[in-house]
Symmetry: C2
Subunit: 541 residues, 2 copies
């Protein structure tokens, strides 16, 4: 949960936590077992000083110059997000879309002043939180000649106010996950929003992209934890009223949740918090049959029991990421509460699992009083603990594999339960076909990250042997095939990874026409010069 | 739960169910006890044939004429919603804002054709579901000379498709509550959205106004039960994809939820359903102290137990509407489930209540297997049953009292828990002061209709003696005082009654400026002629 260290300009997290030594050896060994023909030579990133960055085309006015940086490190570290294709382009030194400047506002007025200046000068503004986008959401991929300023909110990182009665806090948007939780800890409260990117993503980024978090059911998205927003737009600043719920017109907050920096810069939010859990119950349920495991998961999602974790791993996922060698599926199940012991909840959940052929490999591990503190990454034992610790290392390992010419990435969606079997088959087929065509051999895995009463959020992983120098193109071909299969079979182009620039073709067909017209009009009203994140969600003006 | 009978043109529900005989006598007696100085003469509604309706200013083209009516009954019954001020104006024969025509489309194409014609001719279109608005949402209160067509969706009343796997159904928007549940019953599924207006309001109305329903916690609003929407706008028809959740841009559905007929006409929706409950647990918990009762309710709202009912009645509400004469507060508490018995849930809830001084007047009535069918209005015993049956009669009794010169109406809001005590005091004070000034004496009651982890939805009732001929003006003065108190103390101008025309002044100050600009722009894009419900949410163009 720490983020101490030197941030990597090219890959995930810190330089100090990158995969090396014994972990690299073990990882390479595992991959060699799965993909025996792969060339696993490790390619090192270029030195920042050696990068051929384009000349800077704009100069900040004196009043804003102290907020702006044009150092090669800052420009390089803000050129891409953290998708596979971003990391690989970094490894190749391809930073053709580097921003001209990186600005770090210290106050909301700084944000407004920066937007004013950029509006006057026609400079594109790319709002940037932790930079963990995997969809091209923070990449200044603009029309030729358009200068770009990346607006890094990292200095707006304080919890400003805590209301323990309503269990809420007013929080600046640029705070990273661990620093946010550190500031809440003395109050005994927690946001409990733990996406995989937790350590290197911000509240503002979660809000702007409708991030999915810790809870596998119920409060799956950050949307539901949002009480009020404060947003700076080129046309003015606005703040919604703190309310537990309202029926006064269409929700103002829901227009900015998911706006991905195209309508304004979220500077603060009142967020709904939880008391830190005191009771937990964990279990890993094994299923011989994936279809039966899906049915059990659906029964749980529709039971009203609201497990905090309900993540189904298919056999490949269980093998690759949880070390389960039975060839079956594993359902990682957990309940947590600050109010009451969870025996009856877990008992009923396990009963539902047994009804569908699930079994516990060992006596059920049940309710226990949880330790406070570093619980975010912990909890459980066996397959669930193993999977969780693997979960936090995944982005680092993805980078390590990218260095070794693998094509390795994830894609995610959601669909209604009635369509899942068909969608799963179609996506798996499309991925395997694309892998076969462009890579030769590979592995496709699937897990559910979240489950809703009316449908799951399947999350697919692929691991394939690529050719150094071609892995971005190889990935793009696989990605396109998969996205088309998702769109053709009733899935959303994203459940919680956002649209950015990379998902645009499929988003454009998914989005209803009248809403596209309304969003375009709203954008014109709030950002008349079209400077905010051009090309994300909507065509660049 | 039946809606058989002759719809009243001037008041709630059917003519046959209006208050009469012994119920009228008892009601009059109760009111005379509370307000001894009131003149309780009963004023009868005028005959429809005697109403002086304005001349009809438009003629439908031949292709649409068969959908349109200009009969005095249809025009009169579509002039107002069902607010106190609507009913009183009807009683006085004040129908100056009657629509010129009432159209009843039979297909979605009819809706589109009607919008096309009205756009060409500059005729205002007032979308109309069950007509139960209490905020002037369906009243053609327009600039002089602007003709109006009320678009009554009543013929679009079918459940078109049920997906039992995902527990969802595709439903036409014009269906009334009971007819909707009747059509779902064979599938064993239920929407379980039971607002007080259930019998005489429609799915489309619920969606367009973000209605609050049956569940006191968790799925409080229809928003959360919405899987996808189909909307006809003057600029085209759109449909969102059926999805359990999505992170693809701002939610398209959330822009139309709460749009109150200003952006388009919702014609169909895919709704999330529940299995019909098999287990229920009910209890009425009594508290001597209202502040302690509020604290207990907050503890329940934050417990993660998710009671289906959690309605706190203050002493006046408990006395007036549940016959509780102890002078204390009553918390009506219930759990329901289709999946599991609820003993542990209710046990922990009662423990929380006892921690705050709550006690059960009789041995707790616990889990029982519920009968299917007419459960919507039933369940429980004692104060809760008494309160529930009273709940369904309230609109009829409100009309009866309006006939007897009472000023009687409700207003509702929501606020965070930290502000509740102050808001409650301020609203109660403002209401009492206004009653004293304009009416002399009266009663103010408060209950919570819904509770959220971060705040309650308080619902106030007032009962005051008015002067026949002045009760609308008296009500308007009281209403304005209360709304201002709500706005001044951090409440929303509406938790689930919508904005309409009557809440506009306070909505305009509550809504953030950038969102107002975005909504105005969206409206212009979808409804360039500004024909859709002018004056609702936004100033008439």
């Amino acid at each position: 949960m720490t983020h101490a260290g030197t941030r990597s300009w090219w890959g995930w997290g810190t330089v100090e936590h990158a995969v090396r030594g014994a972990e690299r050896t073990a990882l390479t060994g595992r991959v060699a077992g799965l993909l025996p023909d792969a060339d696993l030579t490790v390619h090192l990133p270029p030195d920042v000083a050696s990068l051929a960055l384009s000349p800077v085309r704009v100069t900040a006015p004196r009043s804003l110059a102290h907020l702006c940086s044009a150092t090669p490190y800052d420009r390089a570290a803000h050129t891409h997000g953290k998708a596979f294709r971003d990391v690989v382009r970094n490894l190749h030194g391809d930073l053709r879309h580097a921003p001209d400047l990186v600005a770090r506002p210290r106050t909301e007025q700084d944000v407004a002043d920066l937007l004013d200046w950029c509006t006057r000068e026609g400079i594109a503004v790319i709002p940037f939180g932790g930079g963990s986008s995997v969809v091209g959401g923070v990449e200044p991929r603009l029309a030729d000649g358009c200068p770009a300023l990346t607006l890094d909110t990292g200095h707006l990182d304080r919890v400003l106010e805590v209301d323990p009665v309503s269990r809420s806090a007013r929080i600046q948007a640029g705070v990273l996950g661990p620093h946010l939780e550190d500031q809440l800890r003395p109050s005994g409260l927690t946001l409990r929003h733990f996406p995989q990117s937790f350590e290197y993503s911000t509240l503002g980024g979660w809000l702007a992209t409708r991030a999915g978090g810790h809870y596998a059911t119920l409060y799956t998205h950050i949307d539901d934890l949002t009480q009020a927003l404060r947003v700076v737009t080129p046309s003015g600043t606005g703040e919604s009223r703190r309310l537990p719920a309202s029926g006064a017109g269409p929700s103002p907050d829901r227009m900015f949740l998911g706006s991905e920096g195209t309508l304004g810069v979220i500077t603060e939010a009142w967020m709904r918090l939880q008391r830190r859990p005191r009771w937990r119950a964990n279990a890993s349920v094994h299923f011989a049959d994936f279809t039966a495991a899906v049915a059990a998961t659906r029964a749980l999602a529709q039971s009203g029991l609201h497990p905090s974790n309900c993540r189904l791993l298919d056999p490949a996922e269980a093998l690759v990421n949880a070390g389960v060698t039975t060839g079956g599926s594993v359902l990682i199940l957990a309940f947590e509460s600050a109010d009451h012991p969870l025996g009856p909840w877990m008992d009923r959940a396990l009963e539902l699992c047994r009804d569908h052929g699930g079994h516990l490999p060992a006596p059920a591990r049940h309710t226990h009083t949880g330790a406070d503190g570093a619980d975010e990454a912990g909890g459980g034992a066996g397959a669930d603990r193993s999977w969780r610790s693997s979960f936090l290392r995944m982005p680092y390992q993805r980078d390590a594999l990218a260095q070794q010419s693998l094509v390795v990435e994830t894609f995610e969606t959601a669909c209604t339960w009635d369509r899942f079997e068909e969608l799963h088959a179609a996506v798996t087929h499309a991925a395997n076909e694309a892998i076969r065509t462009v890579c030769g051999t590979g592995v496709v895995t699937c897990r559910f990250t979240h489950v809703h009463p009316d449908g799951p959020a399947p999350y697919f992983g692929i691991y394939a042997a690529g050719r150094w120098g071609s892995t971005v193109a190889q990935w793009d071909d696989i990605k396109a095939a998969v996205c088309q299969a998702i769109a053709d079979h009733g899935g959303t182009i994203t459940h919680h990874h956002a649209v950015g620039r990379d998902h645009r073709p499929w988003y454009d067909t998914q989005r209803p026409g009248p809403f596209a017209a309304a969003l375009t009009a709203a954008k014109s009203a709030l950002d008349p010069a079209g400077i905010l994140n051009p090309g994300v969600l909507l065509p660049a003006g």
